[in-house]
Symmetry: C2
Subunit: 557 residues, 2 copies
């Protein structure tokens, strides 16, 4: 590990810039590294068979002796979801986090059977965390999940404010306000760099309070003659609280559907983040015992995930809940980009089954957890940093934030739109990207193996588009004569029952190739296979205008 | 063809209900059918290898003697894009359409080499079209493309108003207003059924005028120091006009990128829908000759289509346009649901190349062509029909429109949320879905063949998720002894270079199967293959947690 001079600070995003998701940021001073957040991201639509995407942490693994700690800002998956994959590669490194974030992480870590390898340390808002040369003071912020924090990070090279995700909610569900006083007090000491959320920079003004959702819930609970089913993220403890509050007030019982929803309900309750009288909750199996008018069901599946509660209800495949006329379904979430299709498909199906579905466009049943443009400006002005580093956004958000910061008076040279892996070096006089570290995305699937190789992904994309054709033939090793075949196997290319003629013609074509090539006698199998591939490719493309993946296998007997 | 009694009208949507796209509606009176529109739809994200989706028209083909005509409301792809696939199956049936719609259709029909089979008949707003028992009067409406019409359809069973796509634009780009007087006059005669657009029913109020986009263009043209590149649909003649107007006013030259953009520019110009002095247009090859400040480039690719102009520019693969600092790119379109990912990927890339990209959220560079809720209500009140049939929407739009109509006083029994293929029968006393006809979606790919079979699509989905494994072995036909193999071929499953051990183990496992099965001697190949598939599936799933498509091939020699 290179030891930096005392006045220098390096900021290295390992995720979270140029994308929304897999937040992970490394800070490097002297010979020590501090990591903030360790999140995952959902796959793009062309990442076939991929379940989650996590940051490539080779840089940390190669310098693992230098890594002092990972500090979590809050408990959302895009900030904690990669812990189970990453931390086993960084043995002995402690993870600091707010109680709720650690509570949410523990469930997942236990599932992956890595919980016992973890060193988890809880912090509360008054704590000062000292790890190596870094002194970290959490600053309470408001967001869509309780127990969210910005971090003031004091280093030998200067102070950093890392905002995490935030909004200015003046009437937060749990009454815990953004601690602006603390942010201002620390900022007055002088801040070298602000690393700021930019998610909602495209939206003008201020984002509404989370509380407005609770008011909508209450109105809907009052008006609905039947069951009310609320779909949201399982980590949405505020929404759970508001659903419980309305249920208590209006005499409904609450059931939870989906393992993560049920687990988080109980965890949040036991940690004190969710207040629910025991009498309000019923088991999902007892839903049938309660009158529809007296029921509230909390379910997963707000992103249209095919295996989650809401999708199963929409397809009439849910064991405990069958949707019918009289049901009111609240979609208390907005689709993550890329999920729109899946979400609206589920909504349309629910409506087709007779449910009254209430979503964003129809009533305020969801608000964003991220501050809008004026909130971002407010923080920038309070912190008044020397250098500005927009994160937690795609290029278009980072770029717009940079333009706004420039309009507000920061010099263009002091605003940094970073790429993943950029090594930004800051000191009292200037900032510059001086290097790049190995970094990027690791694609993880249900197999739990390390990652999906890009070759495999490319093949899947090819197969998805045009399918495959395998052609098998057995030749005499001595004479090169055709003994058996060729036989053609194919899937995903053409419908075989309707294309027997095409397959027969292709088979005859390959047979012709194998028997008539000049210079009969044994030939190198590789050359032969390559010839078959090339010729068959042309043959099929001409006939069908498609380009299936072609794999010849010549067996020598 | 069943002959209906004189007082009965049947309405049969063949597309366009429960979806946005492939609009096609059949009206049946006595023994005659009239068809309105013949559109296509873009594929869902899991329709691998599919280029376009068109209506299944078996019902029309089976009753082709009864089909009097196809009448087009306007020139958008979701209303005319299936003509080239459908009309060759309905020989002799004339297509009536507004001049611009026919102009746009002709290009595509010529490409598919079916133009000479078509009977195309132009109509203008004062025409009365008489086909069989149907009398059709077009009613001019405003929309995002010029030459758009609602249709008043008089039948022996009563009158229908079919709105097509519309908005109330009080300052339309071409000055042609919604002919409310004609709509009102015909409506006063009494309307049996209103078949209404519902696309924007979720949005309150009125949609802004298309003209506002032109004002934004002009401001951007003035402020931009470099080139202005505008991406929109090639059918967006109004946008072309506004770009040309601002260019003429501010001294820029206009180049078009993309074959469809260039073709439509010329076609619209020659038909009188686009006014552009000859001096304003330059060839794309001459872009380099003009100072950036004096250039406006119109390009395709506003939906992130990988092969279109804008995507190529974003990936720096465009022959004539390389994006650099100083370029302003206007995304004058909003992503069609499902295209969001692709669109934002292109936008982010353009920004990363230094372009200033202006899109919907940043300035009014796009407005919808469909009226909002108040506009839909206004038409419903003017027409005051006996029966209400919401179309051109997903279930959630149809359902919301139905609720609004009920709030406005229509009886629930007089409002019909139809599914594709429903046969709604109306007469003076009641309406009822009395039947269903064969219908649905036909998936078309670049091969130009009739359609992609669902078996092929399912295989592609399986292949995309987990790839395939082919296992080949040669056995003696006499003894059942293993002569050669087994050999395993695989793609899209695991990365072979890193999984040699797994493949070797799987090969050994199958070999064991082939040599050790009880009752040695020749066995039925089918049974053997099925056994191998079952066992290997379990073996691989246990080892990798993946379920590739497995195809065994046992050759008997």
């Amino acid at each position: 590990m290179e030891k930096l001079p005392p006045g220098k600070l390096r900021v290295i995003p390992l995720g979270g810039v140029g994308e929304i998701g897999k937040n992970m940021y490394a800070y490097h001073v002297l010979d020590q590294i501090l990591v903030v957040d360790c999140g995952l991201k959902f796959p793009d639509e062309d990442m076939f068979g991929v379940d989650v995407v996590i940051p490539d942490v080779r840089y940390l693994v190669e310098n693992k002796e230098a890594v002092q700690a990972v500090v979590l800002t809050h408990g959302h998956e895009d900030h904690i979801g990669a812990l189970g994959y990453v931390m086993p590669q960084l043995p002995g490194v402690p993870v600091y986090g707010p109680r709720l974030a650690l509570g949410l992480a523990k469930g997942r870590l236990a599932e992956r059977r890595v919980l016992d390898q973890m060193i988890l340390r809880e912090f509360v808002s008054d704590d000062v965390i000292q790890v190596g040369h870094f002194t970290i003071e959490p600053i309470q912020v408001s967001h869509s999940i309780p127990d969210s924090f910005a971090l003031a990070i004091r280093t030998p090279a200067g102070n950093v404010i890392h905002t995490g995700d935030f909004k200015f909610d003046q009437t937060p569900v749990d009454g815990r306000l953004f601690d602006v006083a603390k942010l201002a007090r620390i900022s007055e000491e002088g801040i070298l760099a602000l690393v700021s959320d930019t998610t909602n920079v495209e939206r003008p003004g201020f984002v509404p309070s989370e509380r407005i959702v609770g008011q909508t819930f209450e109105r809907i609970f009052r008006e609905a003659d039947g069951r009310v089913i609320i779909a949201s993220f399982a980590s949405q403890i505020h929404r759970m609280q508001m659903a419980v509050d309305s249920s208590v007030k209006l005499g409904r019982k609450v059931a939870t559907i989906g393992r993560s929803m049920s687990q988080n309900f109980e965890m949040a309750q036991s940690l004190g983040y969710l207040t629910a009288p025991d009498s309000v909750r019923i088991r999902a199996d007892d839903i049938g015992q309660i009158k529809p008018k007296d029921l509230c069901i909390l379910t997963t599946g707000s992103q249209g995930e095919p295996l989650a509660g809401l999708s199963r209800m929409a397809s009439d495949e849910h064991r405990q809940v069958r949707i019918h006329e009289g049901d009111t379904v609240i979609l208390s979430a907005s689709p993550i980009p890329g999920n729109e299709d899946a979400v609206w498909r589920v909504v349309n199906r629910l409506i087709a089954r007779g449910a009254n579905v209430i979503y964003d466009a129809l009533a305020p049943v969801h608000v964003s957890g991220h501050g809008n443009q004026e909130e971002l400006k407010l923080v920038l002005n309070i912190v008044n940093p020397q250098y500005v580093i927009p994160v937690h956004g795609e290029h278009r958000m980072l770029s717009l934030y940079a333009r706004i910061a420039a309009d507000m008076g920061w010099l263009k040279d002091d605003i940094f739109q970073l790429e993943i892996g950029d090594v930004l070096e800051l000191d009292a006089t200037r900032g510059k990207v001086v290097d790049r570290v190995p970094s990027g995305a690791v694609l993880v699937d249900g197999s739990g193996t390390a990652g999906i190789h890009e070759v495999v992904l490319r093949d899947r994309q090819h197969l998805a588009e045009d399918g495959f054709v395998v052609v098998v033939a057995a030749l005499s090793a001595e004479t090169g004569e055709l003994i058996s075949g060729p036989e053609i196997l194919s899937r995903g290319f053409v419908y075989l029952d309707q294309n027997a003629e095409l397959i027969a013609a292709a088979t005859a074509y390959v047979k012709e190739l194998l028997t008539s090539l000049p210079g009969s006698g044994p030939r190198a199998t590789d050359t032969l296979q390559s010839d078959i591939r090339q010729s068959l490719k042309k043959f099929l493309e001409k006939r069908t205008n498609r380009r299936p993946l072609i794999l010849p296998l010549v067996m020598e007997l």
